[in-house]
């Protein structure tokens, strides 16, 4: 991982979007940040993935299916999915206490609920699947980037899935509707709507919002986020193929 110094600075008077509709990081309104995905980067995990989305850097690792601890949590008809989303103390400007915050507990819950419909949990009764997400560097939209990486990690672990779940946010900044908000846009903007999609089922499995929007804007934001998800979904598939195609070619040497 490249070392870089992060300075997110913005003067109070500075506009987040200029007259030409170009955003503070040089993007157009409906463009995603550059995304880099890698699959299978942790040695010990059954499956893992790494994502860089803009300045976000996030690791996801999957262990299992395995025996459930404590045992009484085991379910006789399906696997238990547990998820821990956690931010490193050094991932944000002000040091974050390593103890799980209420925000992290909530995000862990919504990510877990967003991934469950994608997994054939009924194939592994009485087991648990443990998903760990560590945010190493945060720059807005970490829950979406985490979910995108988590899907890949689950697939990398060989867990049967209906499709890859993908997430992307849309929001309102300076009166414009924009895709994939960065940290400054998230904090200073009017609204942020993260959404997760399982494209083949047309299923929205995560949906949250804060900020104020009208019903019409809401409809547009949902559609924008869905389009963003579809773009990321393509990248996810490429990342998976990239790993397994190289693995397949190795024995030739």
């Amino acid at each position: 991982m490249k070392k870089e110094v992060l300075k997110i600075s913005k003067k109070k008077s500075e506009k987040l979007i200029d007259k030409k509709g170009i955003r503070i990081d040089g993007r157009e309104l409906n463009k995603l940040r550059p995304i880099k995905l890698e699959v299978g980067i942790l040695d010990n995990a059954n499956g893992s993935a790494y994502i860089e989305q803009g300045k976000n850097k996030i690791l996801a690792g999957v262990y299992g299916p395995m025996e459930v601890h404590p045992k009484h949590l085991a379910m006789s008809d399906r696997a238990l999915l547990r998820c821990r989303y956690h931010m490193a103390p050094f991932s944000v400007q002000e040091r974050k206490s390593p103890a799980p915050s209420r925000r992290e507990i909530e995000i862990s819950k919504v990510i877990k609920e967003a991934l469950e419909p994608a997994i054939f949990l009924e194939y592994y009764p009485r087991t648990s699947i443990e998903l760990f997400i560590e945010v190493l560097q945060a720059d807005g939209g970490t829950r979406c980037a985490s979910l995108t990486a988590a899907s890949l990690a689950l697939a990398d672990a060989g867990i049967p899935m209906r499709d890859l779940a993908t997430a992307c946010a849309a929001g309102k900044v300076d009166g414009h509707l924009v895709l994939d908000l960065n940290d400054v846009e998230d904090k200073e903007g009017e609204a942020d709507l993260p959404l997760a999609l399982i494209p083949s089922l047309n299923a929205v499995t995560l949906l949250q919002m804060d900020g104020i929007v009208t019903l019409e804007e809401f409809e547009q934001l949902v559609n924008m986020a869905v389009e963003g998800c579809k773009q990321i979904h393509k990248l996810q598939k490429e990342a998976l193929k990239a790993k397994y195609i190289t693995v397949k070619e190795e024995p030739k040497e």
């Binding site: 209420r102 919504v110 929205v204 499995t205 949906l207 804060d210 019903l215 809401f218 869905v226």
Partner: protein
């Protein structure tokens, strides 16, 4: 997940009824249960309200304290929402620190109040960067029969409207309490409307037994202008985009109806 066993027959019955557009208690799909709002029920609190939504019962108490502001917003008061799923309210609740369900509930209520800017936090600043008022909203669930979110959000709003702040004067950096009270500056009235998806149909205000059958849950909070100010999807299932847009329209009309009654009380 642990849940009281509902008889398979009942589960099937709920699902079948819903697909015919009916519900066990005779309500329409988008009807709320009968509810009462009672304010000023906890004398030691600066504001309080109890909401009974069907058999679901939630008590919210507001306490106001003086503390330091967050460094990034030195000139604004602080809002803190906490929820307790008290063990006496349901066999599903266990003693101990708030679990993920309690945390989620508190954060949904918090988001509604915060994002609609219901409380004018800038008016709660005493001395910028040093002293501000902290508004503690404590949600206490007394009986659990489903849809804790709507009941809690309504009770929180009613309690905020009921809140009286003591009058004060700042003398040499010290706060001196003066006789008399002023109401808390409440500028907006966020109302949460929760949907459950059963058999691909949306129902409003699910009862506990309906929550146990539902595929997924969606809460839409609207402000007094009918705009959406907070959203939360929950549960293990999913929604299609069409269902979400359908829900947003219902939430706007239902929210307006509920708001009238809560604000009046």
């Amino acid at each position: 997940m642990k849940s009281p066993i509902i008889i398979r027959v009942k589960q099937k019955q709920i699902a079948e009824l819903v697909s015919k557009g009916k519900r066990l208690d005779g309500r329409g799909l988008t009807d709320h249960r009968e509810f009462q709002v009672e304010t000023g029920v906890a004398g030691r609190a600066e504001g309080s309200a109890r909401v009974c939504l069907g058999k679901t019962e939630v008590l919210v108490g507001i306490k106001i304290d003086v503390g330091t502001p967050f460094p990034d917003v030195p000139d604004k008061g602080v809002l803190t929402v906490n929820a307790e799923l008290v063990p006496l309210a349901s066999p599903l609740f266990e003693p101990g620190p708030p679990d993920e369900n309690a945390v989620e509930l508190a954060r949904i209520v918090d988001r509604g109040i915060r994002e609609s800017k219901a409380i004018a936090l800038e008016e709660l600043c005493i001395e910028p960067g040093k002293k501000v008022f902290i508004v503690f909203v404590d949600v206490y669930v007394l009986n659990h029969d489903g849809n804790l979110i709507d009941a809690s959000a309504m009770a929180a709003l009613a309690a905020l409207l009921n809140t009286k702040m003591f009058k004060y004067e700042v003398k040499e950096g010290e706060i001196e309490v003066k006789p008399g009270y002023t109401p808390l500056p409440v500028k907006d009235y966020p109302i949460a409307v929760t949907f459950a998806k059963i058999n691909d149909k949306l129902i409003v205000d699910p009862r506990l037994d309906e929550e146990q059958v539902m595929d997924a849950r969606l809460t839409i909070t609207t402000n007094k202008d009918g705009n959406i100010c907070a959203l939360q999807k929950g549960g293990y299932g999913y929604f299609t985009t069409q269902k979400i847009l359908e829900a947003s329209k219902i939430a706007k009309t239902k929210g307006a109806e509920l708001r009238k009654r809560v604000v009046k009380s």
